[in-house]
C-alpha cells in the first residue's frame, strides 16, 4: 500500500497470454515484484489462435526456453510437414512448403490455447509468487491510472486502482490500454485480419491413421484460391493430439467489402472435396471461435510505450502474417521477455520512459522489428497495393498469355521455389492477386481434379452459439451500439462471426422498421452471443469494451 491508499507493485502485467506470461516470468527472474491481472476465469479462457507456435532460431527468446517443459506439457503436436493447396473449383494444386516452414524454425508446435495458457498461468503464478506477486484471474483492467497526466498504474472493474513502476499491456488485440494511451485506434479494417476456427473432435489414435503420422508427428495444411468467394485470405488445418484445428484468416476490409459471412467461408473450407480425405460424416465440432488479428506490417507500433507503460504482443500489433504463415504467439513471447529485460536494466532511472525506449531499441536490435515491419514490404506495398496496379496485373494474369505464363512447367517449379522463399512470400502484396488470382490460376493450370465426396455437415450458427459456454453479465452489455443506422453499423451484420443476414439469434441483426411514414433498415445488437472477437469495434460505430472479469464467453479449447 502506498501513502495515498493505492495498492502498489513494482510491475503490473495486464493479460496472461503468451506475451503477458513471458513478461511476468522474466520480471520474476529479475526479482521484480509482479502482479498479473487476467480477465478470464483462467488464462486461455478468452483466447484463440490457429495455432502453431514457433521457436525461431533467430529469436532472442522462445516459449520453451522461458518455460522449460512447454513443448511437452502445454502443446499438442509438433509440426513435421507443411503443404499449401491452391484451389480452383475442384482442381487443386498442392505444394510442399516444408522448406519455408523449416527456415529459421527450431521447433513448431500446434497448441490449443485453453490448455497452453492455463499451463503458462500456473508457471507464472509460481514464479511471480516468489517475488511477492502472483496471478489474479477474473479481473478486468478498464483503463490507465494517471497522475498529473502521467500514466502511473491501472484501474479495474473489480479492484481498487493499482500503481506500479512498470505497466505491461499484454492484453491482446483490441487492447483497451493501448487505446487509452492513444497508441492504437480501431478505425481501419485494412489493418486487421479476422480469424475464425473450429476445433473438430477426432477419436484418440485416429489422427495417426487418417494423416499417416507417427505419434510425435503433425501436419499443417494451408489453403488458398477461389473457395472463399474472392475474399482475400486463406485457410488452415492443423493436427492436435486428438482433434483438428481448422480455420480461416481473412483481411477484414475484404470481408467487409464482399459482405461475406465468416462462418460460411469456414463451412466452404470444411465442405470442400479436398477435406473429404480427413473428415467424414461423423463431423463433431467441439468449439467455434473467432478473434481479430493485427497486421504487423501496418500496425506494429514503432514506439510501443508511453510513460511507464510498455505494450507487447497483439496489443502492440506484433502479429506477423508471413504470407500464409501466421506468427503472433512467438513474437508476443519475445516482446514480453524483452520488455522485462528493458525494465531490469533501466530500473531506478528517473525518466519514466527509460524502460519503454530501451524495449523499443531491443526490439530493433534483436531483428524482431524487421520481421514485423519488413522494409521490403514497405517498398513493395507502395506499388503493389495500388488498385490500378492490381487491376493491370489481374488483367494480364487473366489473359491467355498470363495464364500461359503461370501455367507452363517452368512456372510450376518457379512457383514452388517462390512460395518457399521467405523473401518473396513476405513481399506478396496484400491484394487479390496474391491471395486469390495467382493461387486460382495455379490450381486451374497445374491442379488435378479432386472429386471426393465430402459428407461434412457443419453445424448452423445457432448451434455453434448454443454449444459455447457463456457467463452472461445480465443487464450490463459490454458493447454499446452508438449508431444504429445500416450505413454506420450494417457491416457488422455480415462480419460479426456470430451474426448473419436473416439470422435473428446473432449479435447484430438488420431490421426493417417503420418509422413515422417511412421505412428504414436499422441494426440492433444483443451482446449475449458475443465471442469478443473485436470485429465490430472496427467495422461498426460502437462503444466497445471487454466484459467484466470472468463474464462473457468462456473457451474450453481456444
Amino acid at each position: 500500500m502506498s501513502a495515498n491508499g493505492y495498492e502498489e507493485f513494482e510491475a503490473v502485467v495486464v493479460g496472461c497470454g503468451p506475451g503477458g506470461a513471458a513478461a511476468a516470468a522474466r520480471l520474476a527472474d529479475h526479482g521484480v515484484e509482479t502482479l498479473v491481472l487476467e480477465r478470464g476465469v483462467e488464462a486461455g479462457s478468452k483466447n484463440v489462435s490457429g495455432g502453431l507456435i514457433y521457436g525461431e532460431k533467430s529469436a532472442p527468446y522462445t516459449a520453451e526456453e522461458l518455460f522449460p517443459g512447454f513443448r511437452e506439457e502445454a502443446a499438442e503436436r509438433p509440426v513435421t510437414e507443411t503443404y499449401i493447396h491452391n484451389v480452383a473449383g475442384d482442381r487443386v494444386k498442392s505444394y510442399d512448403l516444408t522448406d519455408i516452414h523449416e527456415h529459421d524454425t527450431a521447433w513448431c508446435e500446434a497448441v490449443l490455447r485453453r490448455k497452453m495458457d492455463s499451463w503458462l498461468e500456473k508457471r507464472v503464478h509460481e514464479r511471480t509468487s516468489e517475488t511477492g506477486g502472483g496471478v489474479l484471474t477474473d479481473v478486468r483492467v478498464n483503463g490507465l491510472l494517471r497522475e498529473n497526466g502521467e500514466i502511473v498504474g491501472v484501474t479495474c472493474d473489480e479492484l481498487d486502482p493499482i500503481r506500479a513502476e512498470l505497466i505491461v499491456a499484454a492484453d491482446g488485440v483490441n487492447s483497451e490500454l493501448a487505446r487509452d494511451a492513444g497508441l492504437m485506434d480501431w478505425e481501419e479494417p485494412e489493418e486487421w485480419f479476422q480469424g475464425v476456427k473450429a476445433v473438430v473432435d477426432v477419436e484418440p489414435g485416429e489422427i495417426e491413421d487418417r494423416f499417416a503420422l507417427g505419434e510425435d508427428e503433425g501436419l499443417a495444411h494451408l489453403f488458398s484460391g477461389d473457395l472463399f468467394e474472392g475474399v482475400r485470405g486463406g485457410g488452415f488445418l492443423y493436427t492436435n493430439e486428438s482433434s483438428l484445428s481448422i480455420g480461416t484468416v481473412f483481411h477484414l476490409d475484404s470481408l467487409v467489402e464482399r459482405r461475406a459471412e465468416p462462418h460460411e467461408l469456414l463451412d466452404a473450407l470444411l465442405t470442400h472435396p479436398l477435406l473429404a480425405q480427413w473428415l467424414d460424416a461423423d463431423y463433431d465440432e467441439r468449439e467455434y471461435a473467432a478473434k481479430l488479428v493485427p497486421d504487423s506490417k501496418k500496425v506494429a507500433l514503432k514506439e510501443p510505450y508511453a510513460d511507464r507503460l510498455v505494450v507487447v504482443g497483439d496489443a502492440a500489433g506484433q502479429m506477423q502474417a508471413q504470407g500464409p504463415i501466421i506468427k503472433g504467439m512467438n513474437h508476443a513471447v519475445t516482446a514480453g521477455a524483452l520488455a522485462a529485460d528493458a525494465f531490469a536494466v533501466t530500473r531506478g532511472n528517473a525518466d519514466p520512459e527509460a524502460a519503454g525506449r530501451r524495449y523499443a531499441t531491443m526490439l530493433e536490435e534483436s531483428g524482431t522489428m524487421s520481421k514485423l515491419r519488413p522494409r521490403r514490404y514497405e517498398l513493395a506495398r507502395t506499388v503493389g497495393e495500388r488498385d490500378l496496379v492490381t487491376r493491370a496485373v489481374e488483367g494480364v494474369l487473366d489473359s491467355p498469355v498470363g495464364r500461359l505464363a503461370l501455367g507452363n512447367r517452368l512456372a510450376d517449379r518457379a512457383l514452388e521455389r517462390a512460395y518457399n522463399s521467405p523473401y518473396l512470400v513476405s513481399m506478396l502484396p496484400d491484394t487479390r492477386t496474391g491471395y486469390v488470382t495467382v493461387p486460382t490460376i495455379v490450381g486451374e493450370q497445374h491442379g488435378r481434379p479432386v472429386t471426393w465426396e465430402n459428407e461434412v455437415e457443419p453445424p448452423e450458427l445457432i448451434d455453434r452459439i448454443g454449444d459455447l459456454t457463456y457467463d452472461t453479465d445480465v443487464g450490463n452489455p459490454h458493447i454499446e451500439l452508438l449508431d444504429e443506422s445500416f450505413e454506420a453499423s450494417g457491416a457488422a451484420v455480415y462480419a460479426c462471426p456470430v451474426s448473419a443476414e436473416g439470422f435473428g439469434g446473432g449479435c447484430y441483426r438488420a431490421e426493417t422498421v417503420r418509422t413515422n411514414g417511412g421505412e428504414e433498415t436499422l441494426v440492433s445488437l444483443d451482446t449475449q452471443p458475443c465471442v469478443e472477437c473485436g470485429t465490430c469495434a472496427v467495422v461498426a460505430d460502437t462503444d466497445w469494451e471487454h466484459p467484466r472479469g470472468g463474464k462473457g464467453v468462456e473457451y474450453r479449447q481456444g
Partner: protein, 538 residues
C-alpha cells in the same frame, strides 16, 4: 371528556343542555368530527336516545351538504375538464375517456386530499370561527379569462438523478414549444419543475435537456415523494405564489400546459396537482401536439349552433381502455370557466431521451415557500421490491418472438389479446424482441422489456400451457420453458427448431393464427383444459 381532538376544542358538555337546547346549539356546528365527539360525549354521559338522534340528524345533514358545496368535489372538476374533450371527438373516445377519468377521480377521492379538500372548502365558504389549521390558506379557484403561458414539465427524480422519462418529456416539450413559437409567433418557455432534496444541480441539468427555466424546491424532507407536500409545492409554484424574486420571471396566472410522468408517483402527483389547479388531466398519453381546433359543442361555445375556434390546444393522444385504439383528449375552457393548465401524463419511453447540450443557457430559480405540517406521513422503513414482472405461477403463458417483425406493434397487440382471452395467463417475449430495434407504439412498448424475457438469462416458466408465436426455439430460450406442460408453437417455418420440442406445431403466420386462436378461446371452442392436459387427439 373525551373531546380534546385536534380539530376543535369542544367546550360543550351535551349533558348540560336539554335536547331542544342541544339541537339549537349544534345547528351552527358544521364539522362532522366535532359533532361526533359531542355524540360520544352524550353516549358516555346521559346517553339520551332523543339527544343522540338529534346529533345524528345534524351529522347526516352536514354530511349531505358537503359534496354539493361549490368547488368542493375536485373530482367533479376533473370530470368537467376531461369530459369536454369528448365533444371534439367521436363517441367511442368519450367512453374511453370517461372510464379513465373516473379512475383518476377515484384516485383523488380515495386519497387523503379529497377529505382534506372537503373540509377546507367548507371552511372557505362559511367561516365558522373555529380554529382550522388550513383555514388561512387562500388560493385562486377556477379562473375565468386568466393569463396562461409556458409548458411546465414536472420532473421526477430517483436516487438523485433525473429519470429518463423526465428527460424524454423535456425533449418533447422543447420540440413542441419550438414549433409553437414558429406557428404562433410567441416565444414561450419550457419550465422544468424539480422538487426534492439537493436538487439544485438537477434543476441545472434540465436546462441541458431543453428547459428555459428550471424552478426547484429543495428540502431534506422531500428526499422521497410524499404526495401532500409535493402537491402543495407544485401548485404553489404553478400559481406563481412565493417571494418576488422567485416569481418575477413570469407574468401569468397559471401554466398553459403541464406534463407529468405517468409513473406511480407521477400519476399520483398529476391527479392531485391538476385537481388543485382546477383543471383536467389526460393520463397515460403516448403522443402530444399543439393545434387549433374548431368546436361546435354548446357547452364549450356558449351558444348552440355556433362554431368556435380554440387556439393552441394541446392534443393529448392516449390509448383507450382496450389499449388498441387511440383517443385524442382536449382540455378546453368553458365560456364562464377556464380549464388550465392543459395537463397530460406521459408514458415513460414514449419519446426519445434527447442529447443533453451542456452549453444551453437558462434561468434556474429557487422556489420559496414555508412548508407546513404536511409530513404527517413518515417513511420509517422501505424495501425495494424486486423490479418487474413475474411471469411464473400462471396457467398459461403466451410468448412472442421476432416473428412479429413485419408489424411489431400489431404482433404485440395480438399476443396481448390472446393473453387476455385466458383466465390466468402471463405475457412473455424472447430476448430477440428485447434487443431488437423495433419501434413499438407507446401502449405496447412497456411489454417489450427485459423484465418479460423468458429463457436462460430471463425468467423460467412452467405453465400448464405454453404458446410460442414466432419463436425459433433457440436452446437459451428452451431452457426457460422446458418444464411447461403443453407447448404450442406457431411458426411459418416448418423446420424451426421449436418444432422439436412442441406438442402442437401450427405452421402458419402468427398474424392470422393468433386472432383465430383468441376467438376460439373466447368462444370456448378451444378446450384449453384438454389442451393443457395434452389430452386431445390430433
Amino acid at each position: 371528556m373525551n373531546c380534546g381532538r385536534t380539530r376543535q376544542v369542544i367546550e360543550m358538555d351535551p349533558g348540560e343542555h336539554t335536547v331542544d337546547e342541544l339541537a339549537e346549539e349544534i345547528a351552527s356546528i358544521d364539522d362532522v368530527e366535532t359533532l361526533e365527539s359531542i355524540l360520544d360525549a352524550e353516549r358516555g354521559g346521559d346517553d339520551r336516545k332523543t339527544a343522540k338522534e338529534a346529533i345524528e340528524r345534524r351529522i347526516e345533514a352536514v354530511g349531505e351538504d358537503e359534496p354539493t358545496e361549490d368547488g368542493t368535489a375536485s373530482a367533479d372538476d376533473v370530470d368537467g375538464g376531461e369530459g369536454s374533450e369528448g365533444d371534439a371527438n367521436e363517441t367511442d373516445d368519450d367512453a374511453g375517456d370517461a372510464d379513465e377519468t373516473d379512475d383518476d377521480a377515484g384516485d383523488a377521492d380515495g386519497g387523503e386530499t379529497s377529505d382534506g379538500d372537503t373540509g377546507e372548502a367548507d371552511e372557505d365558504d362559511e367561516d365558522d370561527g373555529l380554529s382550522h389549521p388550513t383555514r388561512d390558506k387562500k388560493h385562486v379557484r377556477a379562473l375565468q379569462g386568466g393569463d396562461y403561458e409556458d409548458m411546465w414539465v414536472f420532473c421526477e427524480t430517483q436516487a438523485g438523478e433525473l429519470t429518463d422519462v423526465s428527460k424524454e418529456m423535456l425533449g418533447k416539450a422543447r420540440e413542441l414549444m419550438d414549433a409553437y413559437a414558429e406557428e404562433y409567433g410567441d416565444e414561450e418557455d419550457v419550465v422544468a419543475v424539480v422538487i426534492g432534496e439537493d436538487c439544485a444541480e438537477l434543476a441545472e441539468e434540465t436546462i441541458a435537456y431543453g428547459a428555459d427555466v428550471a424552478v426547484f424546491h429543495d428540502d431534506p424532507r422531500l428526499s422521497r415523494f410524499v404526495h401532500k407536500p409535493y402537491t402543495e409545492i407544485a401548485a404553489h409554484m404553478a400559481r406563481g405564489q412565493g417571494s418576488l424574486e422567485s416569481t418575477e420571471w413570469r407574468a401569468y396566472d397559471e401554466p398553459r400546459y403541464a406534463l407529468f410522468p405517468a409513473t406511480n408517483n407521477g400519476r399520483d402527483l398529476s391527479a392531485l396537482v391538476q385537481a388543485e389547479l382546477d383543471s383536467g388531466l389526460a393520463s397515460d398519453c403516448s403522443d402530444l401536439f399543439i393545434e387549433d381546433v374548431e368546436i361546435s359543442n354548446p357547452v364549450k361555445t356558449g351558444e348552440p349552433g355556433v362554431k368556435k375556434v380554440f387556439e393552441r390546444v394541446l392534443h393529448m393522444k392516449r390509448p383507450d381502455f382496450s389499449g388498441f385504439e387511440y383517443s385524442t383528449i382536449l382540455c378546453l375552457d368553458n365560456p364562464d370557466r377556464d380549464f388550465h393548465p392543459q395537463g397530460a401524463s406521459v408514458i415513460p419511453g414514449t419519446f426519445e431521451v434527447p442529447e443533453p447540450d451542456p452549453d444551453r443557457e437558462g434561468l434556474v430559480v429557487e422556489h420559496e415557500m414555508e412548508l407546513e405540517d404536511w409530513f404527517g406521513v413518515e417513511v420509517l422503513e422501505h424495501d425495494q421490491l424486486d423490479e418487474g414482472v413475474d411471469l411464473t405461477g400462471h396457467e398459461v403463458v403466451v410468448c412472442l418472438g421476432r416473428g412479429i417483425g413485419d408489424d411489431p406493434t400489431l404482433g404485440m397487440e395480438l399476443g396481448l389479446e390472446l393473453t387476455d382471452a385466458f383466465e390466468d395467463a402471463a405475457f412473455g417475449i424472447t430476448r430477440g424482441i428485447v434487443t431488437s430495434s423495433y419501434q413499438f407504439d407507446g401502449h405496447v412498448e412497456a411489454y417489450s422489456k427485459e423484465e418479460r424475457q423468458i429463457g436462460e438469462t430471463g425468467q423460467e416458466v412452467a405453465p400448464e400451457l405454453y404458446i410460442a408465436a414466432g419463436v425459433s426455439g433457440a436452446v437459451q430460450h428452451k431452457v426457460g420453458i422446458d418444464d411447461s406442460g403443453t407447448i404450442v408453437a406457431i411458426n411459418t417455418d416448418p423446420d424451426a427448431r421449436i418444432r422439436d420440442f412442441s406438442d402442437y406445431f401450427i405452421e402458419g403466420d402468427l398474424f392470422e393464427v393468433l386472432p383465430a386462436l383468441t376467438e376460439a378461446v373466447e368462444s370456448g371452442e378451444l378446450p384449453v383444459e384438454a389442451l393443457a392436459d395434452g389430452g386431445i387427439d390430433r
